[in-house]
Symmetry: C2
Subunit: 462 residues, 2 copies
């Protein structure tokens, strides 16, 4: 076993020798990206402004518009070849006054618990809904209970994220159906409201909002849906075990409005050799409304801006046209991503590559790729270039929601993969704020993205 | 190039097939360690107690003694084969009342800046020292200034940590001479005090303490030495540029006392096949006095305890005797590490392996090893087993301060290497507290350590 390993090591070393010239030039370029990002980066100061001077920027809000105008101005200041806004109609939903909720063990005896409306939920009647509560783990439980077990009650979805999964996004994927479709499913059996355990691996007091859908329910069939903090969920579950007859009150006055106009913000460095081949790097400019969206996805926004700035700053002139796209409305509609792809298709623009950063501003570990096996081996041949920066993760998998609609044969879609352990501590919650960002981790992410874009620009998508 | 890469990939896959039986058994065992740590781990609850119920535990303090007694009790509760205390005399130094310092531009006009005494410093006279200040970057600057430039002044060492180094411990290594030897060097030229820029890559208001040495200065030659926060250092440097005549006042009433008795805390699972071969896993129980030492090194303490608990919990019976050693006095003396090694030598105990966790409780990335090339390739053959847990870093390098004295031919010394980006944000400062710990990251570290100990126990040090 050991000898075979050694043979492989030797072969790998030999392989590295063969690459030596390419590696040298590329490793110098990549080192420059990292050094510039870490020593003279702008991503952290940009995020400080976006998070602390603008703040939460839910689609259709005043802050979202401020973010559009400010990022447009900043992209112009970098000296890109073109900067423009792309109009897109987005949903507008407002939370209204802060929600409240309590568990009532008997009239006059109650315990407050932290909840927040899920994005897109209808409000409760004024004064709230008070009803019995029934706990389920999944839709199967719900079907087993049937109308007789559910009617007139608030359904409490309490399946926790699976802590033994190393990639926390997998744990999220295994739970988020409760949040996204819980209300639509529960309403079918006559539930009057839905409460969902927050998508959070920590035990704490922050409820986590997020998108939901009523499927094809009519307006009159829609029921209010809220997230409850993980501590609140555990408390409620314990109390239900002691006394299944307890009641729950939830009060929310959120509201949906008519669609409003908003914008994707786009900047471009036009390619020197293949200007009609487009490479996109982006994140989404909108955020949820509870924190300031520093990790989701302020980080991705400023890192994407920084990719183009690092090219300018280090004097690298890309062969292909590199666009930064700050997508509007990823969180509750994906309208920006769809619009950008549609417009690109209409104009016959040949997009060859797209990279999204939308997994938090934590230490980058690598990328996941939605592309051919050939492109994956192309990426694997670059691994030694990333090694000095401890970037080691290059796998097939998802890329990013906003760039998904661009997908076509022969194209490379990629997603930055930062360390995921802390991400769901903050995701869609009040504590997703600038203080949760580490400057170096953010900057390393920007440099890592820049390096991948550089390599695909230089060598092309084979 | 691509074809060669493919050949290598195929060979690696083939290699994996050859290992399939071993891999299967080991991967099941390792998965069990990770699952148990993440789902039913004790490390986080232990650290909560150590940090929040006991707190800072500088050598010779009451808290250090509490930590000894409590960890001894907890190790006994795990049901180890033996648990005992190893007596060791340690230095005792106390900070006294909180330090204060200000920059004086003219009499009556001053600006406070955050400082803290370095560990082991002599105090200032009562009321403090007020003197002119001279900024230097290193000892060469100091020598160039000579006695005429330094005498009667406070020397301000202001060389920042190098932000473009990816491994922040390298950046620390490049700066820490200022803190450790600054006072001894400056005193030679007649300085009356020393101020050192905190070893911190962030700009913030926390001064970072740490060990210093007066070398062979006599008591009368010793001068007080303090760390200044990075924001304070930048402010002071700017003000000095505007007006080199400004004065600095620093007041500290720290004090050194006679050595006192303390203890290493040791627990053992006796080996089933080779009980006379010892494998050590450890961290240091003492901490600095400003925060509660959660990252440095509460994390290492509870992770090391968790290694033995995971063996018990999962039913793995090690062939060799596995010891957890909670070393006393790493921070300002290393007496515990030296004592343990000396005692082992005196008793003729054959130590074959030692692993230390003393680099923070962040997401584990791998290990660095102080061992032979043969042992390194032994470790490399285990890489596939670690891949599912994103553990990818296995390099030659340092291990840990406490286990260093055990070093001998044929032995493997290893250090857990967590992600290093945030470590120096907290290191030796008031913000190194339990809230800066992420439960999952801590637990992943414990499981990663357990897996390495398991593999070396099972296969032996070849």
């Amino acid at each position: 076993m050991k000898n075979l390993s050694l043979t492989i090591l030797i072969l790998i070393s030999f392989n590295s020798f063969a690459q030596v010239d390419i590696v040298k030039e590329d490793s110098i370029a990549i080192k420059k990206f990292y050094n510039t990002s870490l020593l003279e980066g702008k991503s952290y100061a940009w995020l400080d402004h976006l998070s602390n001077q603008i703040g939460a920027r839910l689609s259709g809000s005043l802050n979202a518009q401020k973010a559009v105008e400010w990022t447009e101005k900043e992209l112009k200041a970098i000296g890109l070849d073109k900067v423009w806004l792309q109009s897109v109609m987005v949903p507008k939903w407002t939370r209204g006054v802060t929600e409240f909720a309590y568990i009532e063990t008997e009239p006059g005896k109650s315990t407050n618990v932290p909840i927040c409306a899920l994005g897109g939920s209808v409000p409760t009647p004024i004064g709230g809904i008070k009803a019995s509560i029934i706990e389920v783990q999944n839709f199967e439980d719900l079907r087993e209970l049937g109308t007789s077990g559910v009617e007139g009650k608030i359904v409490f979805f309490n399946r926790p994220m699976q802590a033994d999964l190393i990639n926390t996004f997998e744990a999220y994927g295994g739970c988020v159906d409760q949040r996204y479709s819980g209300a639509a499913e529960a309403a079918k059996f006559g539930a009057v409201g839905v409460l969902v355990r927050s998508m959070n691996l920590r035990l704490d007091d922050f409820p986590h909002t997020g998108a939901m859908s009523y499927g094809n329910l009519t307006n009159i069939e829609k029921i209010p849906a809220a997230a409850i903090s993980t501590n609140g969920a555990n408390l409620l579950s314990s109390m239900l075990k002691l006394n299944p007859k307890i009641k729950f009150l939830m009060n929310m006055n959120c509201r949906s409005w008519k669609d409003v106009e908003s914008f994707n913000v786009i900047g471009e460095i036009t390619g020197t050799e293949f200007p009609k081949e487009y490479m996109v790097v982006g994140g989404h400019l909108d955020s949820w409304d509870l924190g300031d969206g520093s990790h989701d996805d302020g980080a991705g926004v400023v890192q994407s801006m920084e990719v183009l700035r690092l090219f300018k700053e280090t004097g690298y002139k890309p062969k292909r046209s590199i666009r930064v796209v700050l997508f509007m409305n990823e969180e509750n509609g994906l309208r920006g991503g769809k619009k950008y792809a549609k417009a690109a298709q209409n104009k016959g623009e040949n997009h060859v590559f797209a990279l999204e950063s939308d997994a938090g501003g934590f230490t980058p570990r690598g990328f996941s790729f939605d592309c051919s096996d050939q492109n994956i081996s192309q990426v694997h041949s670059w691994k030694p270039l990333f090694e000095p920066y401890l970037i080691h993760y290059f796998v097939k998998g998802g890329s990013g929601a906003d760039i998904g609609p661009l997908k076509k044969e022969g194209m490379v879609l990629a997603g930055l993969r930062p360390d995921s352990q802390r991400y769901f501590d903050y995701h869609h919650a009040k504590n997703d704020i600038f203080d949760a960002i580490n400057k170096r981790e953010l900057e390393l992410g920007a440099a890592t993205m820049t390096s991948l874009v550089y390599l695909f620009d230089k060598y092309g998508v084979k």
